[in-house]
Homo-oligomer: 281 residues x 2
């Protein structure tokens, strides 16, 4: 298990942790606090010149831990499904322009008002990821499948466990390493088979990203009440130990969706992230 | 798959669906609407003479589909753990007095402010259920382990999947049938391995109860925004088909925690339950 103390270069900050702010100010702040990486949230890049953002990230000395996140894949009609796939291709192109090693999928689920069900949207996702796997075959990028907590299964992600994500990797890309799995402590901490899954996926070199934050008790909002590391009940260090033991040696990304933290001064939030990364993870 | 149309005798109403009301009025209303069963919620029996309630249920011609729910098992200290086990024994005694075929466990999880973690409380639950299994060895009652949705894993139930509950049954009561599993559509619908789990547990005769309600989109509250059958995205009929195909032939229990439904007239709610049971399940 890696020593994180005085090793802030192992930590990446997902810009969603800082809310809606100017991307260049976020890049500067993240770099000046000594973090080693950044993961731009797609909303923070809206209307920006991706190439210029990419240059700015390099100039600041930051690595990219990922580019989040995909447009949803499932649709009520095939025409819309095809549009969703095209939208994903454009985002993958942006990820390549950014120089991100991966593109992170929050795959979507049952479209509002549709007659789809959990099984049919899971099939759509399987089909969509297979198409996108073909699309990236000659690119230096990985598709990162992020299983989301089951409380999002109806409307945000029908991919809900590490085992399910890994099975999809194996099915679409059995011999390669272009479709991989993202482990986020918030989404997976509760899984009774967590450590078996981590061991299996890690040993098969199928993790492309590791996201951390905490689960607060009580959690007051489904979406925007995620916790700073150390403020909740997730055993982040134990999970990190497991993924690193299984072979993961890349950046550790802090991703916290929280109205509480969005209301704080950006430098204050980054200070706390730095302290907690070194003391609670 | 059983035909539910004009077979309301296959339906049981969990009194939690009707909120905080007089238990005798609830018994009368449930019987007069033609339902076949009732599952008293422990809070609806507070301060009541259990024997008298039991007689009233029989006189109304209702069967019991269960008695919900257990005091939480995990504790910060062993003294409190023992108290929790004793509290469970008293509830099991009440379940026997009621004549319930089972006692339903919502097992609890990490006690507030404690240094316990998800693994340690899972171990406590395993230990506690084993003690209670010894306690009921000569009684005509079954312990029903109900896995709750993972969004409750931190504070309400560290038992979160059918597979996990079944593994606990097998571990504590490998040859017997005194520790069984409860399938609630609300808690398990999202599970990518749902139908394999149902098939395995059902074929081993390990289901003691089947609860139904729906998952609303959006869900506005973690606890009290469960949906009436047909108002959400759960394929209740498909899940019922699977559990019945695996051998389940007991009552189907409607259990809906919902401030919306609690605010309605009790007879209106029961009317809708009856209609939806026959048309959407």
């Amino acid at each position: 298990m890696r020593n994180l103390n005085n090793h802030l270069h192992l930590c990446s900050i997902n810009t969603a942790t800082l809310g809606h702010r100017n991307i260049y100010k976020m890049i500067d702040a993240i770099a000046s606090h000594g973090f080693g990486g950044i993961a731009p949230w797609v909303q923070n890049l809206e209307g920006q010149n991706i190439k210029k953002v990419s240059q700015s990230i390099r100039q600041a000395g930051l690595r990219l831990s990922g580019y989040c996140r995909s447009p949803y894949i499932p649709a009520s009609h095939h025409t819309q499904f095809k549009k969703n796939i095209e939208a994903n291709k454009r985002c993958i192109d942006d990820a390549l322009t950014l120089g991100s090693p991966n593109f992170i999928f929050v795959v979507g689920s049952i479209p509002a008002g549709s007659s789809e069900n959990i099984d049919s949207v899971r099939n759509q996702v399987q089909e969509g990821i297979a198409i996108l796997n073909d699309y990236i075959s000659d690119s230096p990028i990985v598709l990162g499948l992020e299983p989301l907590h089951p409380m999002y299964a109806a409307d945000r992600a029908c991919l809900n466990t590490l085992g399910q994500a890994y099975a999809m990797c194996q099915s679409i890309d059995p011999k390669g390493d272009k479709v991989q799995v993202v482990l986020d402590t918030y989404h997976c901490w509760w899984d009774p088979t967590l450590y078996q899954q981590i061991d299996m996926i890690g040993k098969n070199k199928r993790f492309c990203a590791f996201h951390i934050c905490d689960w607060l008790v009580p959690t007051k909002d489904f979406l925007t009440d995620r916790g700073m590391m150390g403020d909740g009940i997730i055993e982040i260090a134990k999970i990190r130990s497991a993924i690193e033991k299984s072979g993961y040696e890349d950046l550790i990304e802090v991703e916290i969706f929280s109205t509480h933290w969005w209301q704080q001064d950006m430098n204050y939030t980054l200070n706390i992230c730095a302290n907690r990364f070194q003391s609670c993870c």
